[in-house]
């Protein structure tokens, strides 16, 4: 058991799939059916001509479980490629968040100050609210939200992580 805990790690996995109906359900069903964790999952078409979508899933487990997850993903018929970015080398992970803060007076000033420090952009403003847009890794967004909480944090919408390997190597079909 202690061995398992030591091997427990987080993994960011990129999956290139056919852009077809049901493919996301297959991936999600695999995770729920086999009891794997999903910390975040994002999906969008990335190549219309070749009908490809890219799924980025952040998961965690023992080394053996992560290997299983990759093998299970890889054997789905509409899956082209599976890449464990955590093992592929240095990679970038980004998340987009839209954060609504409601308040008045000094709180509004403080909110703008913090946003500036975090390089969050104001994308909507009313006399009693702001919507900030920010990108970064999950920790940065967490930190920003935590600071905003006493100031009037009302609503958060986050994309979950997208990721890509640094340098010239690429995940393509």
């Amino acid at each position: 058991m202690s061995d398992n805990l030591e091997n427990f790690r987080s993994a960011t996995i990129a999956v290139l799939v056919e852009n077809e109906a049901g493919v996301l359900a297959r991936v999600i069903g695999l995770f729920s059916g086999r009891g794997y964790n999903i910390e975040s999952l994002t999906v969008a078409p990335v190549d219309e001509d070749r009908r490809l979508s890219r799924i980025t899933v952040v998961t965690s487990g023992t080394g053996m479980v992560i290997e299983q997850i990759k093998a299970q993903l890889d054997r789905l018929v509409p899956v082209h490629k599976v890449s464990d970015l955590s093992l592929a080398g240095p990679h970038l992970v980004r998340e987009l968040a839209l954060i609504k803060v409601v308040g008045s007076g000094e709180h509004r000033v403080e909110a703008l100050r913090l946003a500036d420090a975090f390089r969050a952009r104001v994308v909507d403003a009313t006399t009693e609210s702001f919507v900030f847009e920010m990108t970064g890794n999950a920790d940065k967004i967490d930190a920003f939200c935590n600071l905003m909480r006493p100031i009037g944090l009302k609503e958060v919408s986050r994309t979950g992580a997208v990721a890509i390997v640094r340098g010239s190597s690429a995940l393509t079909v």
Binding site: A25, Q68, Q72
Partner: protein
């Protein structure tokens, strides 16, 4: 756009979707469909009516259609084909589909669906079939455009039969079946699928690593499973060649029985929960294990923490996700069992390193000591028929008959006794529900086997509880004059449930007694079959002989000892060296821990 589809696009369309489906099935080599009609698939039934190339077998329940197709597939190596209607037709098929998925049986199941414009409206007999069957199939399709129809059928067969075989569902909305659709031929085999490309030929570096490890082995074992059967009869032949070349002992999994001849002196029996003493102790004590096409299933490994603690393991499997799933191995090899065995034979012969002959001889002396325990012995005394004896006599008498014999089973004690006491010399002769453990599998599976092998002897070794789960198929047997023999070991209990209740739950036989059983002789007769019965040992051989001589469906009701347990047994949560042996035999009598009780 390829030349064929361009051509198809410019031609006036003359075929209905249903006709396109049938033509594609024919091109895929389908000769038989097992099915049951209903509203959504009427267009296909109409097309079936107007052709002769494909034979339709009308079952009495959709679950049975799938099991029949499984029996057909497993006994021939071809893809089994099923046709059911929407809604309840599809949901009834689900158990069979999952059974085929767990045991890697190639099937294509066509399901009807409400017309595309009604999908999602809770229409009559609508079910989200692709949603429901997603975790019960290798892959599934919902055809929403006529232009995709032929391509999807061809692709479904490719997916079902290649790589690790499995069931594939094609959900067919009724308007797609009625509307005209273009036909396209199957793509050439050389043209790879866009995303699905299973690996079949092994990495030779891994094969060499494995052979080097086996050359150093002092206490080796070959543990062969259903992957050898799925690879085809050539793989079974190569397994024998490799075993004889190396002199290694061979054990088979439940799904692998017949992959290695039971009469071969190097065969040490089935392994696992009800495997032989020698097979399990060989697994426990070996120093090098070659897993050929098996998946370290929990019925095989027992407690993983104590599984074969001192061995280096080689795992050859066509499915990369089976490797390192339950058991970490030193040498993984992804590929087809036949190709891997051929490569191993070649490398073994080329390699100049001599094997450890003396150590191997010592290992065989140890194995012979374990064999001397004679763990499958039982005492047949008096009038009451021991179930083991019934299976043993069935085996001996069918062997004497010299007829080509296929055995199917239901699930439970009788299944394990069949596995222990019926010997198989060739692959594809043994059909059983291994992974899913589906009661009610055996009779419809036997039906499918008999369709594929009309002149062979096909016997369903059954229990009185399991057989009732698909007993309606007796009518199908009668309709198609299929002389399947149902050999019921009738102990008036769900025997394996009763055994676990005796061993694990203080003998509280909660709901495991088969109350209010039918008279199986009259039951057979009411289905226009022949009913036979043996209640005493002296009647057993005569009943078996009469059953074999009858060229009609037979139910032989064999009254056996009611409280007999199936041994050897590795209790749940125990290790291979903690087997319980039968009464009068010493063995590691392990108590079942609370952790063990949680396991099924």
């Amino acid at each position: 756009m390829s030349a064929t589809s361009q051509h198809a696009a410019t031609q006036p369309l003359t075929m209905s979707g249903a006709e396109v489906v049938l033509r594609a099935l024919k091109e895929q080599g389908v000769e038989v469909i097992f099915g049951y009609p209903g509203g959504a698939v009427l267009p296909i039934y109409d097309a079936i009516f107007q052709q002769n190339a494909i034979r339709h077998i009308l079952v009495r329940h959709e679950q049975a259609a799938v099991h029949a197709a499984e029996g057909y597939a497993r006994s021939t190596g071809k893809v089994g084909c099923v046709l059911v209607t929407s809604g309840p037709g599809a949901t009834n098929a689900v158990t069979g589909l999952l059974d085929a998925l767990m045991d890697s049986i190639p099937l294509v199941c066509l399901t009807g669906q409400v017309p595309t414009h009604l999908i999602g409206n809770d229409a009559f007999q609508e079910a989200d079939t692709t949603g429901i069957t997603r975790p019960a199939t290798k892959h599934n399709y919902l055809v929403k455009r006529s232009a995709d129809l032929a391509r999807v059928v061809h692709e479904a067969f490719h997916v079902a039969r290649s790589g690790r075989p499995g069931p594939v569902v094609i959900d067919l909305p009724k308007d797609i079946l009625i509307n005209k659709a273009p036909y396209t031929e199957a793509p050439p085999a050389a043209q790879p699928h866009r995303s699905y490309r299973p690996v079949t030929s092994p990495d030779m570096a891994q094969v060499r690593k494995a052979v080097a490890m086996m050359k150093q082995a002092k206490r080796p074992v070959i543990y062969a499973g259903g992957g050898v059967i799925n690879s085809g009869p050539e793989a079974a032949r190569l397994l024998s060649d490799f075993a004889h070349l190396t002199g290694f002992p061979v054990t088979n999994t439940l799904m692998g029985l017949g992959a290695f001849p039971s009469q071969d002196p190097q065969f040490i029996g089935m392994l696992g929960m009800h495997g032989t003493y020698e097979a399990n102790l060989v697994m426990h004590g070996c120093d090098v294990m070659l897993n050929m096409g098996a998946r370290f299933d929990d019925r095989v490994t027992g407690n993983l923490a104590f599984f074969s603690p001192g061995s280096k393991k080689i795992h050859a499997d066509i499915d990369p996700s089976s490797i390192n799933k339950n058991v970490k191995v030193e040498v993984p090899i992804v590929g087809d069992a036949g190709q891997i065995l051929a490569a191993m034979i070649q490398v073994w012969k080329e390699d100049s390193q001599p094997p450890m002959r003396e150590a191997l001889a010592e290992w065989w002396r140890q194995i012979d000591l374990w064999r001397g325990k004679n763990c499958l012995q039982y005492v047949q005394q008096g009038k009451i028929i021991k179930p083991q004896h019934a299976v043993k006599r069935l085996y001996e008498i069918t062997r004497e008959s010299g007829r080509e014999t296929f055995i199917t089973t239901e699930v439970g004690q009788h299944q394990m006794w069949a596995a222990q006491y019926f010997g198989f010399e060739k692959p594809n002769r043994w059909m059983t529900s291994g992974g899913l453990g589906t009661m009610g599998y055996g009779l419809p599976a036997a039906m499918g086997v008999q369709i594929a092998h009309p002149d062979a002897l096909v016997i369903d070794i059954a229990g009185e509880a399991s057989i009732l789960m698909n007993i309606q198929e007796m009518a199908t047997l009668c309709q198609y004059r299929l002389p399947v023999k149902v050999f019921i070991l009738n102990n008036e209990y769900m025997g394996m449930v009763r055994q676990w209740q005796e061993l694990l739950h203080g003998g509280r036989y909660s709901e495991s007694y088969s109350e209010a059983l039918p008279d199986f002789v009259k039951l057979a007769e009411s289905f226009h079959g022949v009913g036979l019965r043996a209640t005493e040992e002296s009647q057993l051989d005569d009943v078996i002989r009469e059953m074999l001589a009858t060229d009609r469906p037979v139910i032989a009701d064999i009254a056996v000892a009611k409280d007999e347990n199936c041994f050897p047994m590795i209790p749940s949560g125990a290790a291979h060296n903690e087997m319980i042996l039968g009464p009068g035999q010493e063995g590691g009598v392990a108590g079942v821990t609370d952790e063990g009780k949680v396991l099924v």
